[in-house]
């Protein structure tokens, strides 16, 4: 029973809401996060630290772009593709954005089915999410190959400010790594759902604790965060 209490999904008692609730939760000299289990709270805190990492990358990019006296390459043209003899601006990036958003949607619904104990649908949706994530990484590899073959390097490029290359490889590379790890963990969670680990409480390899379907939601938090970061990269690096 001790574990059930720790998992934070105990029935809602009459706790104060609003600012009074914030004060009461933090002042209780117990767990501050009454509605979130330790696993979910730790994932949120990890994501907060990741926010600072990506925040600093985007800040460094802003600083480089604002302070250089050399013109910044036009992303709209750099990332254009020839399709049927026409130059379509930013098309690959737009498709990548739609792929990642689709994967976020399928992840959200997978979490929903997990709490409904629909294992078949959960596994299917997790695999769809992983497949879309892998597609995203594949398209990013294509994009990197194209740019490298056109002469973009971390120390220079044919169109303007040298920092364009370093910012691009640093930011999209770090994001792509996040997506790759997300795909791996999606596959692990999908396998655990498939085997019914969360039904019979098999102990996990990471913490040796018994898992439950909240793991799918925590996995989802990470995946949505990866999508969230892309929203900012798309806006600041590709569109600005």
């Amino acid at each position: 029973m001790a574990e059930t209490t720790l998992d934070g999904t105990a029935p809602e008692q009459s706790r104060p809401a609003g600012l009074r609730g914030v004060a009461a939760d933090w002042a209780s000299d117990q767990r501050a996060f009454k509605s979130a289990s330790w696993g979910k709270a730790m994932m949120w805190i990890f994501l907060l630290s990741d926010t600072f990492i990506f925040g600093c990358f985007l800040l460094a990019y802003m600083t480089a772009r604002m302070s250089t006296t050399v013109p910044w390459p036009n992303a709209s043209e750099v990332f254009a593709l020839h399709i049927g003899g026409v130059e379509v601006p930013l098309i690959l990036i737009a498709i990548m954005t739609f792929v990642l958003i689709s994967s976020s949607g399928s992840m959200a619904i997978a979490v929903n089915f997990a709490y409904r104990r629909n294992r078949r649908a959960t596994v299917a949706l997790l695999l769809v999410t992983a497949l879309l994530g892998a597609t995203f990484v594949g398209m990013q590899a294509f994009e990197w190959t194209k740019l490298i073959s056109e002469g973009v390097r971390p120390w220079g490029n044919p169109w303007g400010a040298a920092q364009f290359g370093s910012s691009f490889f640093m930011i999209t590379g770090f994001h792509g790594t996040h997506v790759t790890f997300g795909v791996i963990f999606l596959l692990i969670v999908a396998r655990k759902v498939w085997r019914g680990d969360y039904d019979d409480g098999a102990r996990g390899f990471f913490t040796s604790r018994r898992g439950d379907y909240e793991h799918v939601e925590i996995m989802g938090l990470y995946w949505h965060f990866v999508d969230l970061v892309w929203v900012f990269i798309f806006a600041f690096f590709y569109l600005w």
């Binding site: 609730g21 009454k34 709270a41 949607g105 929903n112 938090l221």
Partner: protein, 124 residues
């Protein structure tokens, strides 16, 4: 004595979660609606570039679509609207420090740019 509405609510939550009190049960409809809007907003931000808006109109639209998308993802997909405020504030307030940092670096890089223009045009 419990009211009729309370009893009904209890009955509903019990049947919905199969005798297991679990968090974050929401109708799939909500996710589909948010999904749809994320697609629309992404299309809009792509159109900002495709149509070729420039200047403050461009930057303003990019920021608006970006914040709407980020808000929808955090609020609904990541279930932040259904968490207690203690968690929401603990996670959503610290990134304000990043905005302060951005403001500091914006001032700093303006200064660097001016210094470079003066030094480079004057022959170093």
């Amino acid at each position: 004595m419990t009211s009729h509405a309370e009893q009904e609510h209890r009955h509903f939550s019990q049947s919905a979660t199969a005798a297991h009190a679990e968090g974050q049960q929401h109708p799939i409809r909500i996710y589909l609606i948010v999904w749809f809007w994320l697609f629309v907003l992404s299309a809009c931000s792509y159109l900002v570039d495709y149509v070729g808006f420039q200047g403050y109109l461009r930057w303003g639209l990019i920021i608006v679509f970006m914040m709407l998308k980020a808000g929808l993802i955090v609020a609904v997909f990541m279930h932040m609207v259904w968490e207690r405020l203690a968690l929401a504030y603990a996670i959503l307030l610290p990134p304000i420090a990043v905005l302060v940092f951005a403001a500091i670096m914006a001032v700093e890089s303006e200064y660097t740019a001016i210094t470079r223009m003066t030094a480079f045009s004057g022959g170093g």
